[in-house]
């Protein structure tokens, strides 16, 4: 269980502030999604929480210790980041990539300690890719690679898992598998999870708390039903959508309707949508 707090945090890459006066408390074991349009500051917030960016103003505390004073290696022993799927420059096998997750714990000459190998094996098993261990990472499908990267993050044995668009570019089955996996890690191991998400429906289904960002500020923060309303989505994304209730989960469910087919743009309904004419 790990606790993360942002106090009056501002950050800017150039003159334009990317995040402005962010106050955010995340308790240990929470599962929080960061939502918002492109450029609203989700990724910046993830990078600040991981310590690779330092706030221009304000402070970020991880379990009471200020990230500003923490060493990269110390942070990486507690916090893992799942970046978007990518390509490796050389022919690393999947197992070798997962072993990279042990980097924060390695000493100069001990890269295949017995314990490191066990952790890697268990990360491969948890993500269900143990039979792919000897395959080249670059030959795997996008979904398999993303599981591999998640396994790499798990090999860090993190208390806090940060994810930047973990389901981007994945098919619907892999999206579900990744989210189920993350959810079970959160539930069973108490790993605190923060994920930047574009898919509002996935976020509503798998996360307990949603933080909606607009232009570097927190617009709404709360449970899915409070955050995802037709009104907030219109105000933050400038998009008119229908917000319904998921038939079995009772969470908000967002439906896009092509322009011109919807009577009364931005109409809100909490019931199942009647078939359109």
């Amino acid at each position: 269980m790990i606790e993360l707090s942002f106090k009056h945090v501002s950050f800017s890459y150039t003159d334009v502030p990317a995040l402005h006066d962010i106050d955010l408390e995340i308790a240990g074991g929470e599962m929080v999604a960061l939502l918002g349009p492109n450029g609203s500051g989700k990724t910046t917030l993830i990078k600040l929480a991981s310590g690779v960016l330092r706030p221009v103003e304000g402070d970020i505390h991880l379990d009471g210790s200020n990230l500003r004073q923490s060493k990269r290696r110390e942070i990486a022993q507690r916090v893992a980041v799942v970046p978007q799927v990518f390509h490796m420059p050389f022919a690393f096998t999947l197992r070798e990539v997962v072993l990279l997750g042990r980097t924060p714990f390695l000493k100069a000459f001990s890269n295949d300690g017995e314990r490191d190998q066990q952790v890697v094996q268990s990360a491969l098993e948890q993500t269900g890719i143990e039979e792919l261990g000897q395959r080249f990472f670059n030959e795997l499908s996008g979904g398999e690679r993303q599981k591999g990267i998640l396994a790499m993050a798990l090999a860090q044995e993190p208390k806090l898992l940060l994810m930047d668009e973990p389901t981007a570019h994945l098919d619907i089955n892999h999206q579900m598998e990744i989210m189920e996996l993350v959810k079970s890690l959160n539930r069973k191991k108490g790993i605190t999870v923060i994920g930047a998400m574009h898919d509002l429906n996935l976020a509503a289904l798998y996360f307990d708390r949603l933080v909606l960002l607009k232009q570097g500020r927190i617009f709404v923060d709360g449970p899915p039903a409070e955050v995802l309303t037709a009104q907030t989505i219109r105000e933050v994304f400038s998009a008119s959508v229908l917000v319904m209730e998921h038939p079995s989960m009772k969470t908000p469910y967002i439906a896009i309707t092509p322009k011109g087919t919807l009577a009364g743009q931005g109409a809100t309904s909490n019931k199942m949508c009647a078939p359109l004419q």
């Binding site: 991981s50 690779v52 060493k71 990269r72 290696r73 110390e74 942070i75 990486a76 022993q77 893992a80 980041v81 970046p83 990518f86 390509h87 490796m88 420059p89 050389f90 022919a91 690393f92 096998t93 070798e96 990279l100 997750g101 980097t103 924060p104 390695l106 100069a108 000459f109 890269n111 295949d112 000897q134 395959r135 080249f136 670059n138 030959e139 860090q156």
Partner: protein, 361 residues
């Protein structure tokens, strides 16, 4: 899947630590065999057994009675061995530097010269040739010293040009390296065109650029060997950080790497190894590009094995190349840099075609 070569299948069965030990022991054996072979052949052939005995006597381990002509001993210790050891050192240094630069820059096209070392060394050497001085520092002429300093100065310049706001992005560094190299090459051509003294020394300029092992003095080796061996050993400590750099600078940072500091150390190590090699041999090309790739294709990209394996293989490769370069068309010598490219390129293409899947994406 690993390509199904018998070596790979056999290696894959071994446990990682065992595997490293077996591979490095084999490569050390190959390097020693190459050294013996290179010491045996030349204008005068010396039987390998005599070489072994003479060397053991010299070290003081044994006292075999001399059954060989005394001249052989002089040829071996005063002429042949310094050259061969220098070749091994240069090959090891360039291959290790190649591994470091390719790993750090995530760029398979990177070689030890990519960020300006070669142009800096060449410019330094040409400047030294212009001077009517002949000073020797601990067995080194002015030219190798100037080449050594020139290559380090060029990297320092590139690094600082690419540095913005406390960071040195890799792409900026590659571009700055390209710009500085082009500028130095142009300046060098300008000097050669305008300076009469240099035009008389065109042959020296050319052989510096081609590369060749002209070492005939143990003093040079005594100075450079600790730099190169030390550099390779220190580089080995950074192997797991180099692995993390395969994820990119940001990915490495997520894994707890202090990216800018480690980048600076690896750059400094690679440049020092390259500059040390250049001071012994001029600009021997191709070794630093091809040996890391060849070793990676057979043993995989994991740096704790790749680094020492590339150093040993590179040493053996250059010792062999140097032997062939001086014996094939004896009594004339082919510059070893020409030879490395002539032999290395076809071998590399063969390896690439066998295992090109590993470079697919």
């Amino acid at each position: 899947m690993l390509a199904k070569t018998p070596i790979k299948i056999a290696l894959a069965r071994l446990k990682p630590k065992r595997r490293t030990a077996v591979v490095l022991a084999c490569l050390t054996g190959i390097l020693v065999a190459c050294l013996l072979l290179a010491a045996a052949f030349g204008a005068v052939s010396i039987p390998p057994l005599d070489i072994a005995k003479m060397t053991l006597n010299k070290i003081g381990l044994t006292h075999f009675s001399a059954t060989w002509p005394a001249t052989n001993e002089t040829i071996l210790f005063q002429i042949r061995l310094p050259r061969i050891i220098a070749a091994a050192l240069v090959g090891a240094a360039l291959s290790s530097a190649g591994v470091l630069f390719q790993g750090l820059l995530r760029n398979p096209m990177a070689d030890p010269y990519i960020i300006g070392t070669s142009a800096g060394a060449a410019f330094g050497a040409v400047l030294a040739m212009m001077l009517p001085l002949s000073i020797a520092f601990f067995g080194f002429g002015l030219i190798p010293v100037a080449a050594f300093l020139g290559s380090l100065a060029a990297v320092l310049l590139v690094y600082n040009l690419a540095r913005v706001g406390g960071k040195t992005p890799i792409v900026s560094m590659l571009l700055a390296g390209f710009a500085v190299s082009s500028m130095l090459a142009a300046l060098m051509s300008f000097l050669i065109t305008m300076n009469d003294a240099l035009q008389l020394k065109l042959h020296s300029v050319f052989s510096f650029l081609m590369g060749g092992i002209w070492v005939s003095d143990w003093k040079q080796i005594a100075i450079i060997a600790p730099v190169i061996v030390g550099g390779i050993v220190i580089a080995r400590f950074f192997a797991f950080r180099l692995n993390a750099f395969a994820l990119g600078e940001e990915g490495a940072a997520y894994l707890g790497i202090e990216v800018e500091r480690v980048k600076l150390i690896i750059l400094a190590l690679g440049s020092l190894l390259t500059a040390a090699a250049v001071s012994l041999s001029g600009l021997v090309g191709f070794v630093g590009l091809v040996v890391p790739h060849a070793v990676r294709l057979v043993l995989g990209p994991e740096h704790s094995l790749l680094l020492p394996a590339a150093a040993l293989s590179g040493g053996a490769f250059l010792v062999l190349a140097e032997l062939l370069a001086r014996t094939l068309l004896a009594p004339s010598e082919i510059p070893v840099g020409i030879f490395t490219a002539l032999v290395g390129a076809p071998f590399f293409i063969y390896l690439l075609r066998r295992t090109r899947r590993e470079y697919a994406f």
